[in-house]
Amino acid sequence: MSKPDCLPRIDRRAAIQWMLGAAAAIAARDTRLLAADDTAAPITAKGYGPDPSMVTIYKPGDVWPLTLTEPQRRTTRALCDVIVPADDTSPSASAVGVPDFIDEWISAPYPDQAKDRPLLLDGLRWIEEEAQRRHQTAFADLSGAQQTGICETFADAVKAKAIHAKAAAFFKRFRDLTFGAWCTTPEGMKAIGYIGNVPSVSFTGPPLEALKHVGLA
């Protein structure tokens, strides 16, 4: 809070221009990602504390170290992209940094994430064991169809029991994290039809075609 009489008188247009600029700068910085950490040390790191800078743009690894090993990261990357593959209009999960987010989550010094850590690490191992059992090949090196085949088993609560009692729970959790991480990126938001977070001078209400869509016009 600065002294009121020193405050610059900003006009609305200037404020919006400034905001647009800030939003663009933020978007540009988001694509830089950290290289993998090669160790899986126990989580002893500290969190960001009760008074972190909220305006800072964070990347996985900025606050606490990432802990997945390189083989675990390979499995993670491949699994993320089976869950969210690229298509004509939007990128895959790994193209927007989701594997780093998974690593950040698994490595986080907070209770909810610590609870997820054993399930997610075990699950990555189950995925590899199943790839070896079926195809004697690492999951990341399988064909798309082979990867999908394995995921279909994990995604089905009944069939997944044959792999492990918690295999389906692992897959659901991993899917939720992967998809949630993807759709909270600018590319993911666009892909699912969220086009807000931009300032405008007026709010004109729903367009006519939206009203027509639900019988209001």
């Binding site: 809070m1 002294k3 933020i26 008074d51 869950i83 986080a108 949630g180 909270t184 807000g196 209001l216």
Partner: protein, 603 residues
């Protein structure tokens, strides 16, 4: 920024206020504009809304996609620092073990208090809300009526800027002509609920929120608010011109750098500082109200959190606006030979009559929204519509089994996705397996924005099982005894939640959603624990006699004439309206009375 340090305190102030939120901010504003010398003590650090709030940052730019953690309990980008239900070194305890006997206590330790973390919903209490005993035969009548507060509601709304419409509704009062800012257009989901809600008696209409939808009228409002006071008018006009109207993006809970929405620093403390009559001391944790031999308050003892040293601020008058429960704690901790039960507690009523909004919610998938043409639905950073309580005829004498009523808040449309937005997508898509791949992306696109949920918030009257006291053993990190909470839901609240759940289900079904029928076994689980809505009030309620209440109608304690309360503590009950606007209106009214009493030499 003219914040001071403990060394810079003046020898004495006219008024020492504890807390810088809605109540403390409004009190400081009203007093300093009239020339009263004021000190505000704030337990948290200074906070610069202009540079510290994250308006446009995406979840992908926060650690863990911004989900809540023990460090940031409402999510990373929520405008709260050093705040939460659980703050290290600052515990509170529970007398009961059962889940329904728990009370959760949110503390906001930062400049501006909880006004940083707020949906800006600004609803007036109605005439019935001040007279629950007369109307429903339960609780306590407030010693004031709606007519006493109405002029102050007008003033506060003109000052802070509130959008909305006047609907002529029973017990949800209109504002005076020219007071409200124009309401924004309703979103398509809100209009859809408006049309189809009618089938089940739900009146969907524009909500009132403290967000500017157009520039404030700096030419005429200052003269209305400060007649005969050109200095105050000039300061206020300047500050009104420095606020921009909403730019229709970003969630209000993140704070607002363009000052379109209200927070205490932006609207109250800045002009108050500009008068030259205000000092603000941050990082000052109030410990005790000090008194003289005659039992008059002399000031506040506080811990300077930057040094750990104890300090004292002297004032002719002390105003507690530390949040309802924190103000109660201060009174209880101010024990002396004259006041062995704590200050202003000769009635034994300090800590009693705590109430909170009675809340539950329910959501459903609305198939009609599928395939909605994509458009930007952000709007004014929160709801444009709500469902006020209108079943007064059915509940004239509590015939529904509970006094008062509840309103419904809801959010519709394609909102910014969070990490968990699509966690329930499988059942929504009718899939027995966990979806992935191309179908997952397609279905997410199809279902996004199709879920509509209603959250009910309703009245609560005091009961003998909901109160707090000092814990006999536990102290916080500053050595100050902590509060122990007792919480009880009565059949009134349980009946209200049964009604909420039934009504919301009917409403969702009227919109084409399908919802599982309510089962009685889910009742306690669907009731949010006491304190969860962060609307807790009471604990030092106002009344018409000193034996059964803590303050008079001016929020002035019966026992100590120069101690006033300016937060929710004097509320004699919780209405079906959010408390913040009423806190401000009562604070302004209290401050006017305080100045009269000072002038008359009564305090």
């Amino acid at each position: 920024m003219p914040l001071i340090t403990a060394e810079k305190l003046r020898d004495s102030y006219d008024v020492v206020i504890v807390g810088s939120g809605a109540g403390g901010g409004q009190t400081a504003y009203t007093l300093t504009m009239e020339g009263v010398k004021v000190l505000v003590l704030e337990a948290g650090r200074s906070f610069d809304v202009q540079t510290e709030v994250a308006m446009f940052q995406l979840p992908s730019q926060a650690p863990l996609r911004g989900v809540a953690t023990p460090d940031k309990q409402y999510g990373f980008h929520d405008c709260s620092i050093n705040s939460g239900w659980d703050i290290p070194g600052e515990p509170y305890t529970q007398a009961g073990k059962a889940p329904e006997n728990q009370f959760r206590w949110w503390r906001q330790r930062m400049m501006g208090g909880r006004t940083n973390h707020w949906g800006r919903i600004s609803l007036r209490n109605g005439p019935y809300d001040f007279k629950p005993r007369s109307r429903w035969g339960a609780g306590f009548d407030w010693p004031i009526s709606y007519e006493d507060v109405a002029p102050y509601y007008d003033k506060v709304e003109m000052l802070i800027g509130v959008f909305g419409t006047n609907e002529g509704l029973e017990n949800s009062p209109d504002s005076s002509p020219g007071v409200l800012q124009p309401a924004p257009k309703l979103r398509v989901g809100e209009l859809y609920a408006q049309k189809h809600g009618k089938k089940v008696g739900a009146h969907v209409t524009s909500i009132h929120r403290a967000v500017l939808t157009q520039p404030q009228d700096a030419e005429t409002l200052p003269a209305k608010l400060h007649p005969g006071n050109p200095k105050a008018q000039g300061i206020l006009a300047e500050h009104m011109r420095n606020r921009l109207p909403c730019f229709w993006a970003t969630d209000c809970h993140r704070g607002c750098t363009i000052r379109a929405n209200y927070d205490s620093q932006t609207v109250h403390l800045r002009p108050a500082l500009a008068t030259g009559n205000l000092d603000i001391l941050p990082n000052a944790m109030a410990r005790e109200i000090t008194i003289d031999k005659e039992g008059k308050a002399t000031g506040i003892t506080f811990i300077d959190k930057t040094t750990g040293r104890e300090g004292h601020a002297k004032g002719r008058v002390v105003v507690l606006a530390a949040s309802s429960m924190e103000s109660v704690r201060l009174l209880l901790n101010s024990k002396s030979n004259l006041f062995p039960q704590g200050l202003a507690n000769s009635s034994g009523k300090v800590g009693t009559s705590i109430t909170d909004s009675v809340a539950s919610g329910l959501g459903a998938y609305i198939p009609a929204f599928e395939g909605m043409p994509i458009h930007n639905e952000d709007g004014a950073g929160g709801a444009h519509a709500y469902v006020p309580w209108t079943l007064h005829a059915q509940n004239r004498n509590g015939e529904l089994g509970f006094p008062g009523g509840y309103h419904l808040e809801f959010a519709s449309g394609r909102r910014m996705p969070t990490l968990t937005t699509f966690s329930g997508i499988d059942s929504r898509s009718g899939s027995a397996t966990t979806l992935f791949g191309a179908r997952l992306k397609e279905d997410a696109r199809r279902v996004h924005g199709c879920v509509l949920g209603f959250a009910a918030q309703g009245s609560m009257l005091p009961n003998d099982g909901s109160y707090c006291e000092l814990d006999p053993e536990i102290k916080d990190r500053w050595g100050i005894p902590v509060l122990r909470f007792h919480w009880k839901w009565t059949e009134f609240e349980r009946n209200q939640v049964r009604h909420q759940q039934k009504h919301i289900r009917e409403l969702l079904e009227a919109l084409g959603g399908s919802v599982k029928p309510f089962v009685e076994a889910d009742l306690i689980e669907s009731m949010k624990p006491g304190g969860s809505v962060i609307h807790e009030v009471g604990g030092a309620i106002m009344g018409s006699d000193a034996a059964t209440s803590v303050t008079n109608q001016w929020s002035q304690t019966w026992d100590v004439k120069n101690v006033f309360l300016a937060d929710g503590a004097p509320f004699a009950s919780t209405a079906d309206k959010n408390p913040t606007l009423t806190i401000m209106a009562l604070a302004w009214r209290m401050a006017d009375h305080l100045m009269d009493e000072l002038k008359k030499g009564n305090i």
